[in-house]
């Protein structure tokens, strides 16, 4: 069952210097109950694409799409106002910085109770009981006492737990987590990831996790979307992406993590150069200028996505039959 289906989503920011094509026609879907990871470097369009879906873009942005189907409903032209009603009720969102996402002037309790009363029309006492219940669910000790405290009295990890609690308080169908653990220390990150995994199974919620950390993805997600220069370059199951990657960018990404075999030190393989300027996106494949296997066609024309299995797709000219000799050379 598809919970979310997106076809040909494009987002453009209009700035003084021209138009930044942040997302350049991406298509993907999210199944019910799965957790999907979006990886890519900063500026690859991974966060912008999610904000586009939620209509949380600033005024200078425009978006177009052939289809955005959420739970069967078309959302391409949903207004910001209608979207705001869905946010919190059907879709929960967690951001990177738990400090700025909580209002410092209200107690944590007020911030959890408010959406419950709005979306679920609970009475004050019922909402309070429910708030205590969900704080317990995200493993915050002595929730009755914690409800009366202000965000600054919470540590970073505790704040992120509160954010998760708020996001999940109305039992949404989809949880979008934008770099939820990037601002946290590793030991706290491990706690939060464990919590998210547990809750996903318990509540049967689909998770879209935006991250640049392949380790987090490998531990959290069953499917991966790799983004580069505003496009999806490869998507597949976690095992397909880690063990059978087909796009040179994915290869580069996987190889740039330090590997340790018998304590011997290997030189890191890095991707040379810098990501493209989306104010002037290249005519062909966005990765051409950094790709060690680039061909003439890559500069001229963007590659189409090619299906490698039911679940695995990659967009690279190397997969064209005429490039087979290069592919053999690369794969060996």
């Amino acid at each position: 069952m598809k919970l979310l289906q997106v076809e040909n989503l494009k987002t453009t920011f209009h700035i003084d210097a021209g138009q930044v094509q942040a997302v350049r026609g991406i298509s993907f879907h999210v199944e019910k109950g799965e957790s999907i990871g979006i990886v890519g470097e900063s500026g690859s369009g991974k966060s912008v694409s999610m904000l586009s879906l939620l209509k949380l873009l600033p005024d200078n942005a425009t978006l177009t799409a052939d289809n955005i189907l959420f739970d069967g409903a078309q959302m391409v032209n949903t207004s910001q106002k209608a979207m705001r009603k869905m946010l919190g009720r059907d879709i929960g969102m967690i951001f990177q910085d738990p400090m700025t996402s909580l209002n410092p002037l209200f107690t944590v309790g007020e911030q959890i109770i408010e959406p419950l009363r709005i979306h679920q029309k609970l009475s004050k006492e019922a909402a309070r009981q429910r708030a205590i219940e969900i704080l317990r669910m995200v493993e915050i000790p002595s929730p009755e006492k914690r409800l009366k405290q202000y965000p600054h009295e919470f540590s970073g990890g505790m704040r992120q737990r509160v954010m998760i609690a708020i996001a999940l308080s109305c039992s949404p169908k989809l949880l979008i987590a934008d770099e939820p653990t990037t601002a946290l220390d590793v030991t706290i990150q491990a706690q939060i990831l464990d919590l998210m995994r547990d809750l996903k199974d318990k509540l049967n919620v689909s998770i879209v996790m935006i991250t640049h950390d392949l380790g987090v993805i490998a531990n959290m997600c069953n499917r991966i979307i790799v983004m580069y220069g505003g496009t999806i370059v490869e998507q597949g199951t976690t095992r397909e992406i880690f063990y059978k990657p087909r796009h040179p960018y994915t290869w580069g990404l996987l190889r740039s993590i330090p590997q340790f075999t018998e304590g011997e030190k290997k030189k890191l393989i890095s991707i040379p150069g810098s990501p493209p300027d989306l104010l002037r996106p290249p005519a062909g494949c966005a990765f051409t200028s950094r790709c060690p296997y680039a061909m003439k066609v890559c500069e001229k024309q963007p590659p189409q996505s090619v299906a490698l299995s039911e679940t695995h797709q990659a967009a690279c000219w190397l997969m064209h039959p005429k490039a087979a000799n290069h592919m053999r050379e690369v794969i060996g």
Binding site: S27, P272, A294, K296, Q304, Q313, K322, H326
Partner: protein, 328 residues
């Protein structure tokens, strides 16, 4: 990455549509030649290089009000400098035969009770008013930047003492100093400038101080310290250039308020003395004839208002151009 078990599928592929398949097949073979790594320009920056000031200017240029303001000030300044040279009249030349004449072809703004040409006097007044405005702003810029910069950068006890001095100075009404000083020093342009320099820099100093305090913990300042840059070098090479945007905005707003203060003092009769003319003295001179010859007050008052508007438009434009984050 060893097995080549991918399929070349068109119709079953999720995103590869049937009509595109043909397109793919039509690509000539030579396009699949490898690119030479040397020809690829992965570190090339495609955007044209623009400094902060060039960028600010291009934003300023797009602000119509600010550009109108800028043009107005340029016109007034040029007229003030060049205008009197081409006129048959002088600011103090009296013509008893032509007292209190209304505007005409000979006397564009009419004449006053001594038969002096008001247009020339207004141009001459513009020289004095603009000089005072710019000079006061410049003096206060220097004092404010140095005082605020040192106070903010050194911090601690130095900052405490310097800011308490500022608090005390603010506590005493500004006009009180100015009037006392003018009486003490006499009514000259210099004394007006000295009087205004006493307190006008406080706003600039406070602004510079807060800028410097936010900037001094940035890593580029740490980097300069790690290299061994002296405090003065850090202050004048790194901190102040980075505060220049807000400093310029503050100073731009200082110009109209200095012009206004001068006009006000002259209006009270303790500013510029006759026969010299500033816009303030012109307005003051015109009070007795306000009901009989209203044009005598109208033109200098218009000059003051237009200049105020123009300078404030420039200030607003600069603020938006130099600090785009503030723009709504």
């Amino acid at each position: 990455m060893t097995n080549m078990n991918y399929a070349w599928k068109g119709s079953e592929g999720a995103n590869l549509r049937g009509d595109r398949e043909q397109e793919w097949a039509d690509i000539p073979d030579e396009d699949f030649a490898r690119l030479d790594a040397g020809t690829m320009q992965s570190e090339t920056i495609s955007r044209p290089s623009k400094s902060y000031w060039q960028d600010a200017w291009s934003r300023f240029r797009k602000d119509p009000l600010a550009m109108i303001g800028l043009c107005t000030i340029v016109v007034i300044a040029v007229a003030a400098i060049v205008g009197p040279l081409f006129s048959a009249y002088t600011y103090d030349g009296q013509d008893i035969a032509n007292q209190n004449q209304g505007p005409s072809a000979e006397h564009w703004f009419g004449t006053d009770k001594f038969g002096r040409d008001i247009f020339v006097r207004a141009l001459y007044g513009a020289q004095i008013s603009l000089t005072i405005g710019v000079a006061a702003a410049a003096i206060n810029l220097v004092i404010g930047v140095i005082y605020g910069g040192i106070s903010g950068y050194l911090g601690g006890k130095v900052d405490m003492v310097m800011m308490r001095i500022v608090d005390i100075m603010i506590g005493v009404p500004e006009l009180l100093y100015i009037i006392l000083l003018m009486m003490f020093l006499g009514n000259t342009i210099e004394s007006i400038l000295i009087a205004m320099s006493l307190t006008y820099w406080i706003g600039t100093a406070r602004m510079v101080r807060s800028q410097v305090i936010t900037l001094k913990h940035q890593e580029f300042v740490l980097a300069a310290r790690a290299t061994g840059s002296s405090n003065m070098r850090i202050l004048f090479k790194h901190l102040i250039p980075n505060s220049m945007g807000p400093i310029i905005v503050t100073v731009t707003f200082l110009v109209p308020s200095a012009i206004f203060t001068e006009a006000f003092l002259s209006f009270l009769g303790i500013g510029i003395q006759v026969p010299m003319a500033s816009w303030g003295t012109l307005v003051n001179d015109a009070i007795p004839t306000l009901f009989t010859q209203p044009y005598q007050m109208l033109f200098p008052a218009l000059a003051i208002s237009i200049t105020m508007f123009a300078l404030n438009f420039i200030g607003d434009g600069l603020r938006d151009a130099l600090d785009p984050r503030l723009k709504k």
